[in-house]
Structures are given as structure tokens and as C-alpha cells.
């Protein structure tokens, strides 16, 4: 129980990941599979964002610039007071990648639909087998 509560962010990302994976494996409709893939990617983005957080910390903007008001170099910046911005910045890139992947996947789905007139995987496979 302790493990569940203290590390809840990890459990949430794993649950989301499994939902996405389930949709990719079990769903028959291509668009549902693609949405599953998107959930899978979002789970990892959530994981990264959650590891940057700290209890009682604030956004990483230094209020007093260096050497301002307190005399040169006397104002110390405590890393503990600020959340870690790096994972969040990384995830900006990952979001862009996820959007691009989603776009390519949907474009491919359109190509598949134009070719087979359906998005249901079993019907497509039946059409391929007929030939």
C-alpha cells in the first residue's frame, strides 16, 4: 500500500501505458489502434513530467537576478526550491514527435481506407486473402 501511494505517478503511467498497449493489440479498428498508440506515448510524457516535480518547489524562474540588490554573488540559488525544468523541456520535443507520429499514422490510415474502403482490420485482411 505504501508503495502504491508513495509512487502513484509511476502506477498511473504504467496503467496508461497498458491501456494504450491493449488498444493497439486488441482493437480491430485502425483509428482506435492509432489512438491507443497516442495514449501509449502520452503515458511516457506523463512519466517524464512527473519526475521533474518536487514537493514545495516552485517554477524554475530565479526571482532575484545575480548580483542584484544583495551585492555581487551573495544570493545563493537553492536547487531544492525549484522544480527540475529539464524533463519538461525534453517533453516539449517528445510532444512534437508524438504529434508528427499521429499525423503520419492518420495519413497512412487514409491511404489504407482509400485502398480497401474500410478501416476494420479483419475486413482488410479478408480482402487481402481473397486475392
Amino acid at each position: 500500500m505504501q508503495m502504491l501511494v508513495a509512487k502513484y505517478n509511476y502506477w498511473i503511467y504504467i496503467t496508461l501505458m497498458m491501456i494504450g498497449l491493449y488498444a493497439m493489440i486488441a482493437k480491430n479498428n485502425l483509428v482506435k489502434k492509432i489512438v491507443g498508440m497516442s495514449i501509449f506515448q502520452t503515458a511516457i510524457i506523463l512519466f517524464y513530467v512527473s519526475i521533474g516535480a518536487k514537493r514545495g518547489a516552485t517554477i524554475p524562474i530565479i526571482e532575484h537576478g545575480h548580483g542584484e540588490g544583495h551585492g555581487a554573488g551573495t544570493h545563493m540559488v537553492h536547487a531544492v526550491d525549484y522544480i527540475n525544468p529539464l524533463p519538461h523541456v525534453l517533453m516539449l520535443t517528445a510532444i512534437v514527435v508524438a504529434v508528427a507520429t499521429l499525423g503520419v499514422a492518420l495519413a497512412l490510415a487514409i491511404r489504407v481506407y482509400n485502398r480497401y474502403n474500410t478501416l476494420e482490420e479483419d475486413e482488410i485482411l479478408a480482402q487481402i486473402r481473397e486475392k
Binding site: 489502434k33 506515448q41 511516457i44 524533463p87 520535443t93 517528445a94 503520419v104 499514422a105 489504407v112 485502398r115
Partner: protein
Amino acid sequence: MSEQYPALLVVVPLLSALVICVAGWVNKRLCFPIAVAALGVAAYSCIGLLLRVLDEGVIVYKLGGWDPPMGIAYYVDHLNGLVLSVVSVVALLNLIASKKSIDQEFPDKIGPFYTLYVLMVTGLLGIVVTGDAFNLYVLLEIAALTGYGLLAMGEDRAPLAALNYLYMGTIGACFYLLGVGYLYIVTGSLNMVDIAKILPSLYQSKAVLGAFIILMVGVWLKMAFFPLHAWLPNAYTYAPSAASSLIAPLVTKVMIYVMIRFILTVFTPEFAFNILAVSDSIVWLAVIAIVMGAILALAERNLKKMLTYIVIAEVGYMVGGAWLGNRAGMTGAILHIVNDALMTLCVFLVAGNIVYKLKGYAFDDLKGLYRKMPFTMTAFTVGVLSMIGVPPTCGFFSKWYLILGAIRAEHWFFMGALLFSSLVNAVLFFRIIEIAFFEPFTDHHAHGHDHQPEPIDEAPLSMVVPLWIVAAALVIVGIYTSDIVTKIIQFAIPEGIL
């Protein structure tokens, strides 16, 4: 100038891709020369870098002047200098060889095709040159997304096959990203060299173990290591020939490079081979990959699909060789990256030439091909001998090192699998040679000329000459194997591996 090579080899193709995209709107004929120029600059920088590394040792290039581990640094050592040269040269040769088939297959999409092609090479070169684990992920996705587009431009089943590849490729990349995330949690760094410095005190941590397993599964998905290979055959078979002869030789090899880089640099051989007791089981997986790849290839009656299963078996060679955990096996794996890229390029270019002339690549289409396309088929014979592993072609030498490694590690089943696969390759290819050499050419359309000898109807010169260069390279690399091993690969493997 030469100190900027590491940046140039990524920046020039990247910007050229944008220029090609715009030029495609203005005049389609501009696209090809720009693409050749861009990849030419990249290949020149890569070879220049390799030569500099041979003289000076490891080159560190700080992007924007930011010191690592804060900034992103490109590291070029003997290992990736070699892989960079191979990737850029293979991409350039294939681009020149494929011009005619691109013009023939999709005359109205020339601009987009070259844009994707050059972007994909950007991604592949970037993966190899970068020293930052997250940067590698971004470039991995650049290479993958352009790859899906290129593969989907093929014939009717291609979009569906590319979509299946996209699911698997995305899961693979996500696993890689997750693995990097765990490494970041425990080390607080994304720079590969920096991670390697911090990790030794954390080798017992479960998070490091988790990171390692997730990373490896992700990379294996991307390289189509046997149980995770299902996406590869259809995606590569239905792709346009210019795309499959770029992607088949390079993507799996680059992913093998990533695996070796993580074993050697990030996790260090000490952790991968000694602390984790997994190498034996991974070599066993490789044995299964090789045997299953060979058996599945035997069942195919279609040249291109058969070749894709051979690609899967070859992935097994390299993964197994790398995980044998000794110097000979690792040498074999790295040497096989070079050789297999060239061999696969050779046979896929042949498949491209055949498609260009015959519009088909089932075994029945190949009848009488030695008479019809003698130059293409001569090059095919050289490529085939190399795949089987006949000296003096290069395929023999990497197999030799792999088998030496298997003997050193006393892993007899891996050795058996290598020999079995060579044997199956011989059966596979001599079956094709028999059909193409002895059976008379049958034209489905003209039944009146049954008894006349078939006139030579060879692919154009611009396709045959690059093919012959590749075929000659197979022999030349084979002859200079000892130089490549003693001058380059020897320095790529850390001292710790005996």
C-alpha cells in the same frame, strides 16, 4: 573547415531536405542534383572524420560551444567513424543507382521522395554521431517517421504494412525513451559519457537494471530481432525499390550500432557481460533468430520477401556476436555491420534493377535472367557469394570472426546456427541462380518467339555502374579486412574485452 565536419554531416542534409522540398515545387529536375550534392558533402565529411579519428583519436564536437554534459556533444571515435562512412556512402550510392527507378515508379512525387530520402539519411547519420541519449531519440524518430513515409509510397499493400511498422516502431522508440528516462532518474544526465562515469556506483540498482532491459527491448524492436520481427518482411517487400534498398541495408545496422554503443560506452562491458548474467540467453535468442530467419526464407517464393527474412537472420548474427562477450565476437559484429550493409545494398539494388525491367520479382519472373540482364546478374552472383560467405568476398571474413568468437565463448549452438544459415543461404541462392541461369526466359505477352535466344535487355547504365561499384566493394573490403580490423575496429573495442 574540417573541425566542423561533425556538424556539417547532419546540418547539410537537414537544410538540403528543406531546399529540395521547395525546389520540387519550382522544377522537379533540380531535386536530384541537390540531393546528390547534400549526400556527397555528408559522405565527404564522414570519410574525412574517419581519417582524422585514425590520426588523432576521439573527436569531441560541442554544439554551440556548450560544454558537455550541459550541452549536446557529438563524439566521433573509431566505431562510429566507421559506421558513419558506411551509412553515408551506401546512401549516396543508392541515391545515384535509384534515380531511374524513382523517375519510373512515381514521376509526380519526385520532390517529396527526395526530401524524405535526404531527411532519413540525416536521421541515420545523426543517430550514429550523437553522444546524447535524448538527442539520439529525436533523430531516431526523424529516421523512423521518414522511413514510414518512404515505405508507404510503394504498391498496394504498402500503406498497411507501413502502418504496422509504425505501431511497432513507435513502441520501440517509446521503450527507448522510457529506458533513457530511468537512466536520467538515477544519474541526472543524458550525456552518454557522463552517464557511464556516474553509473558504476549504481550497478546494483534495480532502476539501472530496468533501464537496461527496457532500452534493449526498444532497440530490438527497431532492429527486428527475431521474436519482434513481424513488421519487417511486409514493410520492406511492398516498398518502392529505391526506398527498400536504402532502408534494408541501413536501419537495422544503425540500430545494431546503437545496441553496441550502449553496451560498450554507456553501460560498459563490465556491467553488460559480467554483472548482468544475461549474455548467454541473448545469444540463445540470436541462435533462434538465425535459424528461424533461415527457415522462413526457405519457405518464400518471392525474391524480395526472401531477402527480408535473410535480413532478419543477419540481425541475429550481429546481436549474437556482440553478446558473446569476447573480442573476436565483437569484432565480427562490428565488421558485419559494414559487410552486411554492403551485401544487402547489393542484392536489393539487383532486386530494384529486376523490378525496373520486369515489374515483378517472384521466382517465376526470374527465368532466363542471366541471358537477359547479364551485368546485373553478375553483380548478384558476387553479392550472393558474399552472403553465403565464400572467400575472398567480405561476408566470409565477418562470419569467420563470429565463428572464432563462438569457439572462444564455447557457444557451439551459435556456431552451428551460423553454419546452418550459410548452408541455407547457399540452397536459397543457388535455387535462384538455377532458375535464372538454366530455365529459358518466358515472356507472358509474346508467345511467338519461343525458340529465339532472348536479346540482352539490361537496366540503364546509371543503375548498373553503382551496382558494380558495390559488388567490387564487396571483394575489396574482403581483401582489406585485416587492415580494417587492425586499424579501426581494434580501437573501437575497449581494452577490457579479451
